[in-house]
Amino acid sequence: MGFFLEVLIGGLLVGVLYSLVALGFVLIFKASGVFNFAQGAMVLLAALCLVRLIEWLPKWLPALQNPALVVFLAAVLSCALMVLVAMAIERFVLRPLVNQEGIILFMATLGVTYFIEGAGQSVFGSNVYTLNVGIPKDPVFLFEGLFEGGVLVNEFDIWAAVAAGLMVVVLALFFQYTRTGRALRAVADDHQAAQSVGIPLNRIWVIVWTVAGLVALVAGAVWGSKLSVQFSISLLALKALPVLILGGFTSVPGAIIGGLIIGAGEKLSEVFIGPFVGGGIEIWFAYGLALVFLLFRPQGLFGEKIIERV
């Protein structure tokens, strides 16, 4: 029982990180109808920028030696970079491609993925970097009173989960209570109607890609400090896709709950089913799980019901 819980909690904590990446997808899909494959590359770019700036800033400014301040400054500069990326994508990719079919936009984001991966690695280097944002990584035991030995959890994972939770709360508040958030929801609801009441679509797109960039930064920081910053972070996008179809492309709560289900499901299956079929099944298990769900609910768990008319 203790072992099962340990695997389950470990899976849920990984799931939180999947949710973070999926969240970026959902935000962009809702607001601009673009299936943004570049989200994984954006996570890589943000993480690379963060880790290299933490390394470079003390060299550039010898006066700056306080580690916390360095991390903070690097984070601010990385945010600025993500804003720039969002603006560039809106100006050079989305605006010329407005009103094109979904698959064309999807392919364009694949092009953006190549570009970001190439540019990011040529500016910031392509080695493996260890990212340390000053969060302890000690293992701790939970529920020691309940089971013998308790449940072993990494303290860092708990902090990551808290950070992800905070992020979601902040996003929810932003969408619910600010003027921009309302505009974003209006655009997500109906582009044409939103435009006709005077909401500037272009600016909304920049904002939503920026928000997705910031989510990518958080996801990149968390993944980077967990597994160190390297090219494979970019493949996170593939991990987040089953989360999307499970939770629904258009639902923020869906991304969160989908992430948790996928994270827990793949770890449990790997540990309890994997040994019987040769291991390594977590790669496709998530997709299989999502596919089975889709057969019963084609729009995902929380996606908007698809109504079709001729």
């Binding site: 990719v93 491609l97 092009g111 953006v112 991966e117 896709l241 999307l244 040769g278 889709l294 084609p298």
Partner: protein, 354 residues
Amino acid sequence: MLYREAGQFKTNYQSDQQVFPITQDRWSVLAIVVAAFTLVPYFASDYLIISILNPFLILAIAAIGLNFLVGYCGQISLGSGAFMAIGAYAAYNFATRVPGLNLLIIFILAGGTSALVGILFGIPSLRIKGFYLAVATLAAQFLFEWMFLRVKWFTNYSPSGSVVAPPLEIFGLSITTPGAKYYLVLSIAVVVALIAKNLTRGHIGRSWMAIRDMDIAAEIIGIRPLQAKLSAFAVSSFFIGIAGALWAFVFLGSWEPLAFDINRSFQLLFMIIIGGLGSILGCFLGAAFIMILPIFLNQAPALFGIRLSTETVSHLEFIIFGVLIVFFLIAEPHGLARLWSIGKEKLRIWPFPH
């Protein structure tokens, strides 16, 4: 002026229903095929044949297969790499387990296996649409990558996990030289293109297009979505499977599942989008573009006398490839095939403005 269809009257059904109704088209296509069979192997170097022409033709076959599904039937698939892998491993298993089988039969059986799996993975398409389906097809991609890596039966218990194609032999002729391989691939490509051209202008192709344009409306006018969608999956997987078998047997020689990873799927998708969705010519143009571009980008710095480290070159390749993809999508979202038909239209009235 160059491209005049005036005076070409169709007086019977046969001439009206030809694959290429315009005489210039017919002759130029015929000339290209004849040149490909006679002149190209004579003039092309071994390097050109082995590392450019053969992979180009094989990938064009795969692109035709994918175009049936994405371009004609409108079902986006990101799992085409997996179906190439199925073709490759099916061909390998047929070749090693059933001795004395004709190579062509092996290829057809490989395509058939791939088609059966394709039907299986096409079933969700009856419920799921659009990007949900696209992501669902990734399930095939990852499942088969894993299966060919972990389930040892498929690789005949080879200790390293990579398998070697048997020596190629067809009707007693052994195919070892680049030229012979080129003839094999070219013949199959021509046959596939001919089948594809006829399939898409017949009943079945039209029912696919009706499903693509609006599936509910198609259903109402009497097209069965089940048959249409599953047949698109089957035919598409069949050709992709054959291409996979060719890729493994003729181009790679020895391979492991990594040769058919998700990047292959994306590469095929790029080919048909850059080439033109729903166009057979587009498959060839797109395959040529996507094949040659990385080679050119790789060689370009050396051509201009700039010396860069391999790492920088590979990053630059990524950047330029990404930019060009976006640029092409913006400049002509309907692909190179559309540019070609615009050019033809211009030639028709040239040099007069109307």
